[in-house]
């Protein structure tokens, strides 16, 4: 499914409409495609580049710059674990270990059932609730290692 779907095109057009030019919508366009396809493969990147009249290389430079644009496959749910100093001093290493153990997958990998991918994130900005993590759009914290498997169960 390399070509953009009509739904994707409509969402991208809506972004372009509120901006001075099409290229300003590049990040939103990539997010749109990611919302529909979970991640941005090379074909999708090419299709967006063509649609916005950018070179693939130009768009790749943008896609690879931002932490929340995924250029590799991810599971149905994405777990973002805060990896910054406030969470670190409150024991996030143990939470990360518990997460890898529960998932049976390392950071960056997709679990065998296609359900999860965990990614370390630079500071989630929830420092007063550390150690913090996000699953999809939900912020959780403070999270103790023992809480991890129960938390994951809420995301079938």
């Amino acid at each position: 499914m390399a070509a953009l779907s009509s739904a994707e095109r409509a969402e991208i057009d809506a972004e372009i409409a509120i901006l001075p030019d099409a290229r300003s919508a590049s990040i939103e366009a990539l997010k749109t495609v990611q919302r529909h396809r979970r991640w941005i493969d090379d074909d999708a990147l090419g299709a967006v580049a063509e649609y916005l009249d950018l070179s693939k290389h130009e768009l790749e430079a943008i896609a690879s710059f931002y932490n929340l644009l995924f250029r590799k496959p991810v599971g149905r749910h994405v777990v973002l674990v805060c990896d910054s100093v406030s969470c670190w001093i409150l024991g996030n290493e143990a939470v990360k270990q518990a997460l890898e153990d529960s998932l049976g997958a390392a950071f960056g990998e997709v679990t065998r059932d296609d359900r999860f991918t965990a990614l370390p994130m630079q500071c989630l900005g929830a420092c007063d609730r550390g150690p913090a993590l996000m699953i999809d759009e939900d912020l959780h914290g403070p999270v103790q290692p023992a809480d991890v498997s129960e938390l994951l169960r809420r995301y079938p």
Binding site: S24, L30, K31, L68, S86, Q122, G125, R129
Partner: protein
């Protein structure tokens, strides 16, 4: 004692789920200051903000009124951009301001846009703030419906539009020129200044970029006047301060307080002291880019100028006895930064914390300037090996030399953000780093 002082102004609705509802906001007096402002001359609002001593709450502490004054008088198509890309480690206040009281931010923004003559305005919000974004979008839709936004704000003839733009995960986009690049759909690469954004900003137009907390204060300056606001603060810093207290505390959290409180009062009186009955060892006072303070430096007020100049805080050094030069022989103590205060107990492994801090800036360096791109990489590599007890003789001096080589040699302040904490940790806790280097050799000889 701080608990006796009612200093909650812009955080007074924290915990009240109803306040984000436009009817409730109005019933609490909301949007009245916008009505008042629309009856004032834009010049008079600007003068009030300047006289109020409001300083930017994003990190730099630059006087807001002065920043507004940089927009050329004959400018057309001015933009106001609210910087809601809060990502400095340790900082978690703008998130709360937007979630609990979104209309307060909008009212501050619309008043500011009126003062600046800005028709098209953006809120650039962190991509990770997924709970806050829909709250803000709902508030904007409601504000349009009630004509606080639109082509004719409250029948005044003033046209004002606000669009929410979501980031995609990049610390550097909190730097104002990187943010503007990102708004234009590009990589967040900071721009060389000058020209400053007030002259050439987003889409080539004059642009003012202000932090969320900064803008939230504007309605109260209009309501009570600049003198009242200036009197809330101290010296050249007007208003209250929101601090984000994190780390080894009994009661971490986001607190709005007078700027006169000392770091020790914040820890002991506001946050119930250090957890587990332990002692404090180290405090990072304004987001992880600021030089840390040691336990004997905590009786200084948490105010912009005090943290920069109070002689009880030891200046940062590049080597024992050799002060770091910020330029023109100016010493660096520390800064209030973004209000992100991280507190560490006496069990904390400082070289490991230093490595963690450096790792962040290495990861988030945009790669544009060689000293930062390469320097943060080497700092990360060396600080990690020192933290693991695998340091080599000379590593401590090497870290200081690399940090000193980054600072002052980059387009934006991320270079300093990486260099300052390293130099600060080495200045205040040098023996701990050296012990890590000596330890394995002694082990090998035994």
């Amino acid at each position: 004692m701080p608990a006796d002082v009612d200093t909650k102004i812009i955080t007074r609705q924290f915990g009240n789920e109803e306040a984000k509802n436009i009817e409730v906001y109005e019933s609490l007096g909301g949007y009245r200051q916008l009505r008042r402002a629309l009856g004032m001359k834009p010049e008079d609002i600007k003068a009030e903000v300047k006289a109020s001593n409001l300083r930017g709450r994003g990190g730099a502490g630059f006087p807001t009124g002065v920043k507004w004054g940089f927009v050329p008088a004959d400018a057309e198509d001015v933009y106001l951009v609210c910087n809601a890309d809060e990502s400095e480690p340790g900082t978690c206040k703008d998130r709360e301001l937007m979630y609990w009281d979104p209309h307060q931010l909008l009212e501050g923004m619309i008043i500011s846009a009126y003062a600046l003559g800005a028709r098209n305005n953006y809120i650039y919000i962190r991509g990770e703030m997924m709970r806050e974004t829909p709250v803000l979008e709902k508030a904007i839709a409601d504000a349009y419906e009630r004509r606080y936004l639109g082509e004719d704000v409250l029948g005044s003839g003033f046209a004002c539009h606000i669009t929410v733009h979501r980031g995609a995960g990049a610390y550097i986009c909190g730097e104002e020129t990187a943010l503007l690049e990102s708004l234009e759909g590009k990589r967040g690469w900071p721009r060389l200044k000058p020209p400053f954004p007030a002259v050439v900003g987003v889409f080539g137009k004059p642009t003012v970029v202000n932090n969320v907390e900064t803008l939230c204060n504007i309605p109260y300056i209009v309501e009570h006047g600049s003198q009242w606001f200036a009197d809330l603060g101290v010296g050249r810093s007007g208003g209250t301060r929101i601090v984000c207290m994190s780390g080894h505390l009994e009661r971490p959290g986001v607190y709005e307080l007078p700027m006169t409180l000392t770091m020790r009062q914040l820890i002991d009186d506001v946050c119930g002291g250090i957890w587990k009955g332990r002692e404090v060892k180290c405090v990072i006072p304004g987001g992880s880019s600021m030089p840390p303070m040691s336990a004997d430096e905590l009786d200084v007020p948490c105010e912009f100028d005090a943290l920069m100049t109070d002689e009880r805080i030891k200046p940062v050094e590049v080597a024992p006895g050799v002060p770091f030069d910020m330029g023109g022989g100016k010493e660096l103590r520390t800064m209030a930064g973004s209000g992100g205060i991280m507190v560490m107990d006496d069990h904390t492994d400082i070289p490991a914390v230093c490595a963690r801090v450096v790792e962040f800036y290495h990861h988030e360096s945009c790669g544009q300037c060689t000293p930062c791109r390469e320097g943060t990489g080497w700092l990360a590599k060396i600080s990690h090996r020192v933290a693991k007890g695998e340091g080599r003789p000379g590593d401590v001096d090497l870290m200081a030399s690399i940090a000193d080589g980054i600072a002052g040699n980059t387009i934006c302040a991320l270079g300093e953000a990486a260099a300052w904490p390293v130099l600060g940790f080495l200045t205040k806790f040098r023996a701990e780093f050296e012990a890590k280097i000596k330890a394995p050799k002694e082990g090998a000889a035994a």
